[in-house]
């Protein structure tokens, strides 16, 4: 395909969200003196870590042309088991292996339902989300469990130089995901799956196996996000995943409107996640009512996606 010359519309399409993000930082910095400080940026980065890592998992699935909402339940389940088993005195390493196993099992379950039985991913993953939520409730009966072991908590509270440890996890995972997706053959196959699955099959790539792997890897990323989220909260509250559910979706969709209009990509998701928490932090610093924060976030999401989808020319339906 021949490359068309770049137009202003395309620039707004691809970089509009990034400009808006930078603009938001500048505006908040001018209005509020407390916003532009190292501590505040550290805060924003640390807060967006679990959201970002979870959204990377979702982005991977979106790139492969499917969707996976099971993290809404998986995060809560992982947190409950993590806090519960630490309280019972198991060693942190053993507990980490157990929750990794839980993540892998959930990923496999998703893969079996969606790739094996060919169920629509949206519905199947919502069902898995419910099953995870049920397991969580049965495991801890909805009681909040706190983690008190300072050694375990140091995983998220440590600093390396001026940089908080979670920020390193966030950017580390971002770099790995971005590199694997854009620079390796396997990553290109994943993109190809989302673009044209029939062509992928014709070329002789094992489409089902690749897609199954995508779901398992995504579930591992969700598990890691849950690990960070639980430790950062200092314990497991009921249905922790439910609060993240919508924000992760919003971050990924914002990402779809960034850099590659209409297509999920990792840099976009990173910007999306940081953008959401920049708004939260900036508006909180201005002393605006707490319930106006989601309003601003919602409007930004709508505008960003509207700009990137207005040129599509026809209604996009969802296939169940």
């Amino acid at each position: 395909m021949k490359k068309k010359p770049t137009t202003l519309g395309q620039i707004i399409n691809n970089y509009g969200t990034t400009f808006a993000f930078i603009l938001a930082i500048i505006v908040f910095s001018i209005i509020s003196k407390r916003f532009f400080s190292v501590e505040n940026f550290q805060n924003i980065l640390v807060q967006s870590t679990s959201l970002g890592i979870c959204a990377f998992g979702l982005t991977l699935v979106l790139i492969a042309g499917e969707i996976d909402l099971s993290y809404g339940g998986l995060i809560g389940l992982v947190g409950a088991v993590l806090a519960g088993m630490l309280k019972q005195g198991y060693s942190p390493l053993f507990v980490s292996l157990v929750i990794l196993a839980i993540g892998l099992t959930t990923g496999l379950l998703n893969a079996i339902l969606i790739v094996g039985l060919k169920l629509p991913s949206f519905l199947a993953s919502v069902a898995v989300m419910f099953l995870c939520m049920g397991t969580e409730r049965v495991y801890n009966l909805g009681i909040t469990t706190w983690i008190r072991d300072p050694q375990v908590l140091s995983i998220v509270q440590a600093y390396i130089g001026p940089v908080p440890a979670p920020v390193i996890y966030l950017f580390g995972i971002f770099v790995i995901c971005y590199f694997l997706q854009t620079q390796t053959r396997m990553g290109q196959y994943v993109r190809a799956l989302g673009e044209n699955i029939d062509a992928v099959k014709e070329v002789g790539i094992r489409a089902s196996l690749t897609k199954a792997a995508v779901f398992v890897v995504a579930a591992v990323l969700f598990t890691f996000a849950a690990y960070i989220e639980t430790l950062r909260n200092g314990g497991a509250t009921m249905f922790a995943g439910r609060q993240l559910l919508l924000y992760v979706l919003a971050a990924s969709f914002l990402g779809m409107a960034t850099f590659k209009a209409g297509k999920a990509n990792f840099p976009g998701t990173l910007i999306g996640a940081l953008f959401l928490y920049t708004i939260t932090s900036g508006l909180a610093g201005l002393g605006i009512k707490y319930y106006l924060v989601p309003v601003v976030q919602g409007i930004i999401l709508i505008i960003a996606v509207a700009i990137s989808s207005a040129r599509r020319g026809k209604i996009e339906q969802i296939q169940f």
Binding site: A127, L131, Y291, G298, I302, A306, I315, Q317, I318
Partner: protein, 341 residues
């Protein structure tokens, strides 16, 4: 997400009796009646252990709870029929209920005005959702997610997040009163059911909405106003969501900000069950059954002494049953004429 382009053609052929015999028909029948068999078995088991399940009082309880989620489920079902999804129904229900309670109790408006104001919120939000999907071509999942965020503002702004205990008796009569020994919500449910059923099955608009869901390209080529019909489904969904919210507030005589939260997933499960129960046809009746199944399963489990933690299992399993049935009924349909995927 894959498209099953052949579904319209195969439906026509099946209806005309040209094909679809023997084992292929069997596959559909299993998918279609399997759900009834599962629920028949479940009801029988519960009745054996807890005979009070089939008492008149409990049946009324089930029907009243069904009525609360039926409106929002029908709204969601109509949107799903046209191939979209509405995530904002829960917050629409919440805002409508809070506004109605606030107008009635804190500002002293009359019942009719408060109800009209509450319901019109749904119309407005539905219009917004519909315009985003039909005019700006936004994916409905993303657009309504945005609306869901935005609605959190008014939800808390109306009373600053404070719960409203409703004073007027006439309002709580809507949810708790009886007329000729039958609870009022059941009358409302029957009336709305009849309206939705006639609209979707018997009017040209309704038939066209169903066709959009089947094959939007074919509709566009045959001159159906695809965009305005999609817009209409969202307005419908918004209006119906407010019914559920306001009626729930009337039943509790109380409006609070978390009131609508349950509706999103319940409406989703009920309408998904609804689209498979009659094999993709007669969605409104199917959704009514879906809502009854959903409510009666949690009712039955509560009677059996299961704690709230088992509700999520039951809802998740119900959803799995629904999509498995949907898949098998679709596959048996595709086998007739569909190209190999």
């Amino acid at each position: 997400m894959s498209k099953s382009n052949s579904s319209v053609i195969s439906l026509d052929l099946r209806n005309s009796g040209v094909i679809g015999t023997g084992s292929r028909k069997g596959g559909r029948a299993i998918a279609q009646y399997g759900i009834f068999v599962i629920f028949g078995g479940f009801y029988t088991l519960i009745t054996i252990f807890r005979p009070s399940f089939f008492s008149l009082g409990n049946l009324y309880d089930i029907l009243i709870d069904t009525s609360l989620i039926s409106f929002v489920s029908w709204g969601e079902a109509i949107v799903i029929t046209a191939g979209n999804l509405d995530l904002s129904v829960g917050n629409v229900a919440g805002v409508a209920a809070m506004l109605t309670c606030h107008l009635l109790t804190n500002l002293g408006f009359g019942l009719p005005i408060s109800l009209v104001m509450g319901v019109s919120v749904g119309g407005l939000v539905g219009l917004g959702n519909g315009l985003m999907v039909s005019r700006l071509n936004m994916n409905s999942l993303i657009a309504t997610l945005g609306t869901m965020f935005v609605l959190i503002g008014p939800l808390f702004w109306i009373t600053n997040g404070v719960m409203v205990t409703v004073v007027p008796e006439s309002f709580s009569y809507l949810g708790n009163g009886t007329f000729m020994n039958i609870p009022i919500p059941i009358y409302i449910m029957a009336a709305v059911f009849l309206f939705c059923y006639l609209f979707l099955e018997k009017t040209k608009l309704g038939r066209n909405i169903q066709m959009i869901g089947q094959n939007i390209e074919a509709c566009r080529f045959s001159g159906i106003d695809v965009r305005n019909l999609a817009l209409l489904t969202f307005i419908f969904c918004g209006l119906l969501s407010t019914f559920s919210g306001i009626l729930l507030a009337a039943r509790q005589s109380l409006g609070n900000v978390t009131l609508g939260d349950r509706f999103v997933l319940e409406a989703f499960i009920a309408s998904m069950l609804g689209t498979v129960i009659f094999n993709g046809k007669n969605v409104i009746t199917g959704t009514l059954f879906g809502a009854i199944f959903l409510v009666s399963v949690s009712n039955g489990l509560t009677l059996l002494g299961a704690g709230p933690e088992w509700m999520y299992f039951s809802q998740g399993s119900l959803l799995l049953v629904a999509i498995l049935a949907n898949y098998y009924s679709k596959r048996s349909r595709l086998k007739i004429t569909g190209p190999k995927k």
